[in-house]
């Protein structure tokens, strides 16, 4: 009995600890709530206000623009690639058009307008400047936005890249059967073996690990490749904050949660609802914690990945913003700070390379551990 309680406590402690341990970026960035509140307020500002300020460099706005989603892909200066807007509205039907029609949010189009990056319904159907449009709040509530945004496009690109890489590798395996690995194959093979042996097999166990391998491998390489792409500051290749987007990490965590719940055996539920060998009195305390833990675990997965990658992006961008903040005071100072900023950014990027791998590893490992606990066999307790 004491061992089961100890194990349970250790697991929850580990959960909490790992959250803080693996979120150093978030802690570095200061109070996360402050960062988010400050930056969010910038986004929430009316478009006109942003226009008024456009002459002056706004670090918060720049950073938040980089790490949040957008309906166009900003390339350089005032040039950005317009992306498709796909809106379904129960009353108005389906509308598909280029986001370029919004003129960077200055105009309405087809009865819609951009408020920040959010699509709002307006009463006027013809294209007019946003300032003259009347927002239809009730209709805005019903907007289903399926737009191919910057993040969605980069998601497609990364998925295509993932498929290309591993399909090629799989073909190489079939072509070079019985031969030593070569090229791309020898690059990914150690990682595949690492995920298989050190993550799946060791956490789930010899009997069940094969069932979870496809998901674990996919999630590992998906996170890793997207983390790396996020570090490449070249539009249409990378630079998006995809794995630092709460929607993406939420989906991944939901996958882990659903797979854990579906594959969970009797033993798992017994440990959740009625930990064997624990007195009834303690069960009243323990069971709510365990039930909470079932949801907390994927939640922490979601937050950890989101926070780490977003924080990494914020830090890198902050260093660059410093150049322009000081550059506005005096050009010379800007160049001076640039040297230091660049050095720091290089250092941070190197660190982020590590974080990119580490976060993919942590997410996969924890998923594997949860799967492992879900399929763990009932083995003679009271030992």
């Amino acid at each position: 009995m004491p061992t089961t309680i100890k194990r349970m406590l250790l697991r929850n402690l580990f959960l909490l600890l790992s959250f803080f341990l693996f979120a150093p970026g978030l802690l570095l960035a200061g109070d996360p709530e402050d960062v988010i509140r400050d930056t969010a307020s910038v986004v929430a500002r009316e478009p006109e206000q942003i226009h008024e300020n456009s002459g002056k460099f706004d670090a918060g706005k720049t950073i938040i623009e980089h790490i949040t989603d957008a309906h166009d892909w900003h390339v350089i200066g005032h040039f950005s690639i317009p992306l498709p807007v796909i809106i379904y509205h129960p009353d108005r039907g389906l509308s598909v058009f280029s986001s370029g029609k919004f003129h960077h949010g200055e105009n309405t189009y087809g009865g819609y307008m951009l408020k920040g990056q959010k699509i709002m319904a307006v009463q006027e159907t013809e294209s007019i400047p946003v300032s003259q449009a009347t927002v239809d709040e009730a209709a805005s509530e019903k907007v289903w936005d399926f737009s191919i945004t910057k993040n969605v496009l980069s998601l497609f690109i990364s998925c295509a890249l993932l498929f290309f890489i591993f399909y090629t590798v799989a073909k190489t395996y079939q072509k070079r059967e019985g031969l030593a690995p070569k090229g791309l194959q020898s690059l990914v093979e150690p990682l595949i073996i690492f995920v298989r042996d050190d993550i799946a097999r060791s956490s789930i166990g010899e009997k069940h690990y094969k069932k979870f391998l496809p998901f674990l491998l996919t999630v590992f390489f998906f996170i890793w490749i997207n983390n790396l792409l996020g570090l490449i500051p070249i539009p249409l290749i990378g630079g998006t904050n995809l794995t630092g987007n709460i929607g993406v990490t939420l989906t991944l965590a939901v996958f882990t949660f659903v797979i854990t719940t579906i594959s969970a055996n009797k033993n798992y539920w017994q440990h959740v609802f009625a930990m064997p060998g624990v007195p009834v009195g303690i069960l009243f305390l323990l069971t709510p914690i365990e039930i909470l833990g079932v949801f907390l675990r994927p939640f922490v997965l979601m937050i950890r990945l989101f926070a780490n990658i977003t924080a990494g992006h914020i830090i890198a961008l902050s260093f660059f913003s410093l150049i322009f903040i000081f550059g506005e005071m005096s050009t010379g100072l800007g160049f001076g700070v640039a040297v230091v900023s660049l050095a720091f950014t290089i250092f941070m990027t190197a660190l982020e390379l590590l974080v990119a791998f580490l976060q993919a590893y942590v997410f996969t490992l924890l998923s594997a551990i949860y799967f492992g606990s879900a399929v763990e066999e009932h083995h003679g307790d009271h030992h």
């Binding site: 938040i64 498929f163 929607g247």
Partner: protein
């Protein structure tokens, strides 16, 4: 709070994309790759096992060879010893035989010599007897050549008888 509020569109596309990529990779990448890896590991294991087996066999063979060699050595020693014994016995036998033969020959020779000697002695005896008789005859003839002498002899003989 845009940063921490998931957007519906992205959630939708993420769900679709991730499910698709999961399915595609599972079918077209992970299955063949994992199978190949497994096969390769198995073949490596098999190769290692067979190498180990070959080593064991080699060892057994070597041990066997050594055993055979040792046996051959013992056999050789045995044969050599036998040959030596045979040689010794042959030589010994020959010696004994030669000795016996020699002795036999010696005995025959000795007998022959003896026989010859006997014959010679008999011959000599006969010769001596003959000679003695001839001498005695000659002496007698000489002695009894005159009457006188004959009388004398008779007388001497008679004297002897008288004395007896």
């Amino acid at each position: 709070m845009e940063l921490v509020k998931p957007e519906f569109g992205l959630l939708f596309w993420m769900l679709v994309s991730f499910s698709t990529i999961l399915f595609l990779l599972k079918k077209f990448a992970w299955k063949p790759i994992l199978k190949m890896l497994h096969d390769r590991e198995e073949s490596i294991q098999k190769a290692l096992d067979s190498a180990e087996k070959a080593k064991e066999e080699m060892k057994a063979l070597q041990a066997n060879n050594e055993r055979v060699l040792l046996e051959a050595k013992i056999e050789r020693d045995r044969i050599l010893k036998e040959a030596r014994e045979l040689k010794d016995s042959i030589i010994g036998e020959a010696k004994t035989k030669a000795q016996a033969e020699g002795e036999k020959m010696l005995a025959i020779a000795r007998e022959n010599i003896n026989n010859e000697k006997m014959a010679a002695i008999t011959e000599l005896k006969n010769q001596v007897a003959k000679l003695s008789i001839e001498i005695a005859e000659k002496i007698l003839r000489e002695e009894l050549s005159s009457q006188e002498k004959q009388k004398q002899l008779v007388k001497a003989l008679l004297d002897d008888v008288k004395l007896n």
